[in-house]
């Protein structure tokens, strides 16, 4: 659905996006992570045909980004939630959505049905005739998402959809995105919120002008370090460490009364490790696996590329 090949965008001498290549499949939720100024918004603007690219190629829904004849088709195909919601404060929620639906050429009956559906889904139906100038940030954000959907786009670009929202509004927006995911829409999500990315996205890319890494959340987590088994003991002594060391060339770290052991296949290795520790007189409280969080991956990846 979205294919990007060596995409580059420069503003004067400054490179905003540098040779990015990635692919987002139909119905996939792709999370684009990266610090401020990493080029996430620029990439989205290029893909929505709002600004041009310097070099490389990109296709959205089979249409070529940057080709005049295809730009209009891409705009019909995509819905955009920009970083700043940009609603018309004097117009009501209904009027805001109706204006955009008309621009997309949605007929009157479909307009009414869709606007009602989305406003009800987002809990804004009762406020449909209220000018959006008096809406809270969360309400505005929800309305802007509805605006991006009013023409029933197959591809959605959401730029920081939960930025500056309170936890309750963030939850509503996240749940709404998950609803959209169930509808098999392709979603391109720019976010700083790692927890959100982990919960929602099928695939994640970390960008810092260049695409630093890409994969499923599980792949990224596994890529940071291998698997680790954590054994919590009453106390750790030399005989226990020697007993585990004798099992093979494993990296063992002692953290207070805890052993952190690198493993390749926990289902086979853990019972042997436990047996060795018990034989050495160790009293085990519990055994668990330590996995890196997406935050660990993000900080390591971005930190390594400073």
């Amino acid at each position: 659905m979205i294919e990007i090949e060596n995409l580059t965008r420069k503003f004067g001498d400054q490179v905003a996006v540098d040779g990015v290549s990635l692919r987002v499949e139909d119905g996939e939720v792709f999370g684009f992570l990266g610090p401020n100024g990493a080029g996430k918004t620029t990439t989205v603007r290029i893909l929505c045909c709002l600004i041009g690219k310097t070099s490389g190629s990109a296709r959205v829904g089979g249409y070529e980004v940057g080709k005049d004849a295809d730009s209009m088709e891409i705009r019909k195909l995509v819905g955009l939630l920009p970083e700043n919601v940009g609603l018309y404060n004097e117009l009501s929620a209904f009027e805001n959505l109706d204006f955009y639906a008309r621009l997309y050429g949605v007929n009157e009956q479909d307009r009414r049905e869709r606007i009602e559906r989305f406003l009800r889904m987002l809990g804004l139906w009762e406020k449909r005739d209220v000018p959006t100038g008096v809406f809270s940030k969360g309400m505005k954000q929800k309305l802007a998402i509805a605006r991006a959907l009013v023409h029933n786009p197959q591809v959605l670009f959401l730029d920081e959809p939960t930025a500056n929202l309170d936890p309750e509004s963030s939850k509503t927006v996240r749940e709404f995105i998950l609803e959209l995911k169930k509808e098999k829409r392709t979603i391109f999500l720019n976010t700083h919120n790692l927890d959100e990315a982990q919960r929602i996205c099928d695939k994640i890319g970390i960008l810092k002008t260049k695409l630093l890494t890409i994969g499923t959340p599980q792949q990224l987590e596994a890529s940071l370090w291998g698997r680790k088994t954590v054994v919590q003991l009453d106390e750790v002594n030399d005989s226990i460490i020697k007993a585990v060391t004798r099992l093979g060339p494993k990296k063992i770290v002692v953290e207070d009364s805890r052993l952190v052991i690198d493993v390749v296949d926990p289902s086979k290795e853990n019972p042997i490790i436990i047996e060795a520790i018990v034989s050495a007189g160790g009293r085990i409280q519990f055994v668990t696996e330590r996995t890196p969080s997406l935050e660990d991956v993000y900080l390591k990846t971005v930190g390594d590329n400073r």
């Binding site: 709002l50 705009r75 955009l80 940009g86 117009l91 008309r102 050429g105 991006a148």
Partner: protein, 245 residues
């Protein structure tokens, strides 16, 4: 280019203007003041001096007709600045530009929105002005002075072309200005050449008859075409999103 899309943008802007009382008053008050104020001035001046001589009255009436060009040149500034700088301030341009509308359709929509209300206000007030003036001057002149060619050229050519000039100038100004009031203040400078023409008429350098107004309108048309070309260059998605300050 689909004008229906331009009209969707224009009607949205017009709906917003109707909800901004300051804009409505700004557009209505000045033309109404000209329409009612000038006939009243003539009536009271005539009453005090025992009647204005017909020759002076004719000169005054032609000059009064020209007064409708002033609001045509200034009032679109009020609206255009809200329409363009307002969108910029509210950051509503990006979602708008993401829709399947061409830059030209959007620009035309903005021009229509800024053009229609002042022109409607000017036409309505000019009609009232002509009725009142005819009432006041009928006895002195012995005939109905309005409508005539001069006001016809003013209303159908000079005023609309002045309004378009004002809107286009505002499009260009809006690309560099981030504040509605500054855009309005800069935009109103467009009145200066028209004030110059009026003063020239008052000191006898030129007469504001239909022929001269046709020449002025032709010059305005040429300026409008040039400004439209510049506006098209300024009003491009990429420019708006990356270079508009």
């Amino acid at each position: 280019m689909k004008l229906s899309k331009s009209w969707i943008v224009a009607s949205k802007d017009l709906k917003i203007f109707r909800k901004k009382k300051g804009v409505v008053y700004g557009v209505v008050v000045f033309p109404l003041f000209v329409a009612i104020g000038l006939p009243l001035v003539l009536r009271f001046a005539g009453a005090r001096s025992g009647g204005i001589p017909a020759e002076l009255l004719l000169r005054l009436l032609d000059a009064f007709s020209f007064f409708f060009i002033i609001p045509a040149a200034t009032l679109p500034t009020v609206i255009a600045s809200y329409s363009l700088v307002g969108e910029k301030v509210e950051r509503s341009l990006e979602p708008l530009l993401a829709t399947p509308i061409t830059d030209g359709e959007l620009l035309i929509g903005k021009i229509i929105a800024a053009f229609l209300p002042p022109i409607a206000a000017i036409f309505a007030s000019a009609t009232l002005f002509m009725v009142l003036i005819d009432q006041v001057t009928r006895n002195t002149l012995g005939y109905l002075y309005f409508p005539n060619w001069t006001i016809g050229v003013v209303l159908l050519l000079t005023a609309p072309l002045s309004a378009i000039l004002s809107v286009l100038l505002n499009v260009i100004i809006s690309s560099r200005i981030n504040d509605v009031r500054s855009a309005q203040q800069l935009g109103t400078l467009v009145v200066l050449p028209f004030a110059g023409i009026y003063v020239s008429a008052e000191v006898g350098i030129l007469t504001l008859d239909a022929n001269n107004l046709l020449i002025i309108s032709t010059v305005l048309l040429a300026i409008d075409l040039f400004l439209f070309y510049i506006s098209r260059l300024t009003f491009r998605r990429e420019e708006i999103l990356t270079k508009w300050k």
